[in-house]
Symmetry: C2
DNA sequence: TAAATTAATGGACTAAGTCAAGTAAATTAA
DNA sequence: TTAATTTACTTGACTTAGTCCATTAATTTA
């Protein structure tokens, strides 16, 4: 467990703050005849439409006995209907009745209004910042959601090139100890790409999910018949999602379509994961030569793919 | 109330998710002899050192009666000491005893461990993303905190240059409609800075708060007697914090110290906020000339400061 | 086919939290 | 200065929320 104390404390502080914040929001609903737990149950029923008691108990971490009693109360108040499930006759399918919806609606509205009031006090920029941040937390902590949203591959947009440089700089510094000069090289390469960009023969692919960039690759024209693959990178957090593979494939397909004869690339022997991708894609090692760059002793490699 | 429904729902969804998430974290502390509320009280005492019951009741939204009883229990268990306040003899000053600290410590540790386990499951990049996001939420929703943490100005580190390019690209695209070629220019300038960086006569300043970059400025050597200020930028979220002013001042101080005679800079007439800073710092407009760049009709300006 | 597991429930209980009323000190108004 | 009001905290009497154990019935696994 090598997580820094600072980070742990920062998260704990956030948790404490947000607990209070949500607590204050819920305060407003306190005058309702429903307890917070009851509200949460009604809310789940409201969104899910059909639910088993067991699902509810699990997703809200409730004692089944306690839940059972609450549901019983709801049923006798005419808020929900319970039907024996046909597939498993132990289970009971729960649904909110029309009456249930009618009764619950104002509280949803009240809850919405409370949130609206908080947002309303913020500027447009602050709202965006808040929502982006919440999205980031959701997608980081909620594994299920993360899997669900697909990785898309698109062309570059303003800001992307800088981001790619930023990530190369940070990542290679922390993982391989590369110094500034590496980031300088990346900035130069990427800057030149943008400057001289010829969409007919060149392309940049950005892999993203939920608005967060997961990887990149560039294809630049070297000469009439040769294209060069450059700046392939994949976020550590996105490993295992075939992001790198898909990016390389896009690159190869584009090179073929544009009638290049050869796709070449330069890399360093320590970048095992990337090299593995190149080999799999059919690239052949054509040259190898040691050099001292980025504050490190490295072995540069040139790989070619005949298209 | 003109807040969009989508945003409200997004916030509500986040609230629901995070409530569950924190609930799950607290589950682990459930086997302790303290209830969640008791924990929160102990935690407040632990950090604040000295506290009145009334403060506690307010900050944790507790019923005074309930709190009073909990405190009574804590006192008879030897966990806290209560002293009549000298300034107001109705109040009682609460402090955790040594014994209290000793007893409470393992639970703090347990809570830390739970958070550490969550973080541990994330990659470095994800951790950073998570913390940045939490920081963003805190600073947006908790106005008080925003003021409290100071902005620091430091030299550049790996990744920073890329970040600066990224932000220039995004920001100028969304605020002024600049196209790719602007980002290309920034990448070239910043890349060259890194490549030819001479610490004796050049410098980059990064303004940051809580690990988040708020602004930047570069000073590069133009010739023996002239230094150029480049790439000044300030995050929209950091406006009004004098970030830009402080960065420009750093720049001027450095230029003076290095015995430059003139500090020059090139900018565009639409960048009012920046120009205002330059004027305030004593720069004089020496040249102005229209140009078509970055997909826009602009008026370029050269400003000089005699040192 | 027996044994183990799961879904749901009731009984008996404890913990958590609330409300109204009171005391003593401090503050404000007259 | 004194009376009225407010504030900090406390106690008593309560309600609500939540837990634990045991049981029944259906389903799954061995």
């Amino acid at each position: 467990m090598a997580v820094s104390e600072d980070r742990i404390d920062a998260v704990r502080e956030f948790n404490r703050f947000y607990t209070k914040h949500v607590g204050a929001l819920n305060e407003g609903l306190l005058k309702s005849p429903f307890s917070l737990t009851e509200m949460r149950i009604l809310y789940e029923l409201h969104t899910a439409n059909e639910l088993m008691a067991a699902d509810l108990a699990k997703s809200l971490s409730l004692d089944p006995a306690y839940l059972s009693r609450i549901l019983k109360r709801f049923k006798s108040a005419g808020l929900i209907e319970t039907l024996r499930s046909v597939t498993d006759r132990r289970q009971r399918v729960l649904t909110l009745t029309e009456e249930g919806r009618r009764v619950f609606a104002p509280y949803i509205k009240a809850s919405r209004d409370e949130v609206a009031a908080v947002l309303d006090a913020l500027s447009e920029a602050e709202q965006t910042k808040l929502l982006t941040a919440m999205q980031a937390i959701l997608s980081t902590l909620d594994g299920a959601r993360q899997k669900a949203t697909p990785v898309i591959i698109r062309a570059h947009r303003p800001g992307d090139i800088g981001w790619v440089i930023h990530r190369h700089g940070s990542l290679y510094a922390s993982e391989y100890g590369f110094d500034d000069s590496f980031e300088a090289l990346v900035a130069k390469v990427a800057g030149e790409f943008l400057e001289k960009f010829d969409p007919a023969f060149e392309h940049c692919w950005i892999a993203e999910r939920n608005g967060g960039i997961l990887g990149s690759v560039f294809l630049v024209k070297k000469d009439k018949t040769t294209a060069q693959l450059r700046l392939l990178y994949v976020e550590p957090s996105a490993r295992g999602l075939s992001v790198g593979r898909n990016l390389v494939n896009e690159c190869i397909a584009f090179a073929r379509q544009k009638k290049y004869k050869t796709l070449t690339l330069w890399t360093n022997s320590i970048l095992h994961a990337a090299i593995h991708l190149y080999e799999d894609a059919g690239f052949k090692l054509v040259n190898e030569e040691p050099h001292h760059s980025f504050g490190q002793d490295l072995i540069g490699q040139t790989w070619d793919l005949t298209l």
